[in-house]
């Protein structure tokens, strides 16, 4: 188990390889469809959000507002990442993102972006909403809540020992590509 703490250095990212299990500590920012499209179209990050050395999490969490105005995260599983494929590589490069958390993996453009800029794709366990919500120790803030609505907003989360697996690394390797090729060959011999 490798511990990753934000902000992450390029060196730490380049040391990771496909199949490594990591635990993430520090601050991560959620972002899904609306945020990716907005940033890709040239939108600015709101003041207070710095993605340099940071992590984007493809997630629309369930948040409950507490009596004192703070937020409590009750479910925080990953959403399918491939929808962000048209935008992800440029966003990684432009904002200096070092990690993208999601599920299902991403395509060749993102893989190339990871290699070029020094970033990794971190696969969280799909459906594990309760376990992952428990790793969120504090909700530090929310941005674009009015503009995009709760699931699509940028939530700033403090996490502790958030588990994920490196399935696309900064050396051009993808576990998804590997497993697909091997399983396709295995199937051919069983038809």
């Amino acid at each position: 188990m490798i511990s990753l703490t934000t902000p992450i250095t390029e060196e730490a990212v380049r040391a990771l390889k496909v199949g490594d299990e990591v635990q993430i500590n520090g601050v991560i920012f959620t972002g899904r469809d609306a945020v990716h499209k907005y940033l890709h179209e040239g939108g600015e990050l709101p003041p207070g959000v710095d993605l340099k050395g940071g992590i984007i999490y493809h997630c629309g969490p369930v948040m409950m507002k507490q009596a004192d105005g703070s937020w409590n995260c009750t479910a925080a599983g990953p959403t399918t990442s491939i929808r962000e494929e048209p935008y992800q590589a440029e966003i990684i490069g432009h904002f200096g993102v070092r990690g993208v958390i999601g599920k299902g993996g991403m395509g060749d453009r993102t893989l190339a972006g990871c290699k070029e800029h020094g970033c990794v794709y971190l696969h969280a366990i799909g459906g594990a909403a309760q376990v992952l919500a428990e790793c969120v120790t504090r909700v530090r803030g929310v941005y674009f809540l009015e503009k995009f609505g709760s699931p699509e907003a940028i939530w700033e989360l403090e996490v502790s020992e958030f588990p994920a697996v490196v399935t696309m690394d900064a050396h051009g390797e993808s576990l998804h590509r590997e497993v697909f090729a091997a399983s396709e060959a295995a199937l051919q011999s069983r038809l």
Partner: protein
Amino acid sequence: MSALLESLIELIRRASAELPDDVNAALVRSLEQEKKGTIAESALKIIERNIELAKRKSQPICQDTGSVIFYVDCPVGFDQIECEATAREAVKEATRKGFLRQNSVDSITGKNDGTNLGPGAPTVHFHQHRESTIEIRLILKGGGCENVGAQYSLPAESLHANRDLDGCRRVILDAVLQAQGRGCGPGILGVCIGGDRATGYEFSKQQFLRKLDDRNPDPKLDALEQDILKTANELGIGPMGFGGKTTLLGVKICAANRVPASFFVSISYMCWAYRRQGVVLTAGQTIGSWLY
């Protein structure tokens, strides 16, 4: 609050927060089978922990609480209109209590009014039987796994799939290959051979009402189920598509007649968060017993 309304809210709560015993048992078995120290094993361990946590906190196992689908078996003379109205009320109340996420979107306006009610939401299927009992089953069908369902029209030339059982086997296994990494495996397949485009998918979903450890009474379909399960688990796709031994937890297949011109194979995919529950109601419409 009517007894039926209370029973249905409890049915929704339990379906959302607790997996049925047969599914839990299958997940425990697959965890034992995965090689120690692999990422497949870690993934299944997190899944197990998640199941335990959801049950203890009485909270949704997965945040996508899915499409809400009721199946009601009822005696002749049962008031279906009243039952459907109560089911809608129960969904609204269960959403308010947080057993269901605000999960239903108007397809034209994009609006989510937070009630989980709308055209086709929830779906309630009625079926009359000659017994005097009322049985209500519920499936919460997640979106990620619904997206990887597939309908093939045979012959499918690129897959060398003809209009026979071998052709069916080829397309079903192709669906398993294509679904990998998406849809939160290990998964369960519900398949219908034949029917039209609508009934094919409908019957394929009904297969999810079967228990994982039951056997198909039709020997040909039983053999196909066992074969697909075994073959899929030899492909090395594994939980989440990480590689590993557990690709599928179960395969359930039915057949429906078709017209000579069509030959559809419809495949629904269910994720590991296989939320299915059911109740037999008492005469007073309280919960008499649980079906799973």
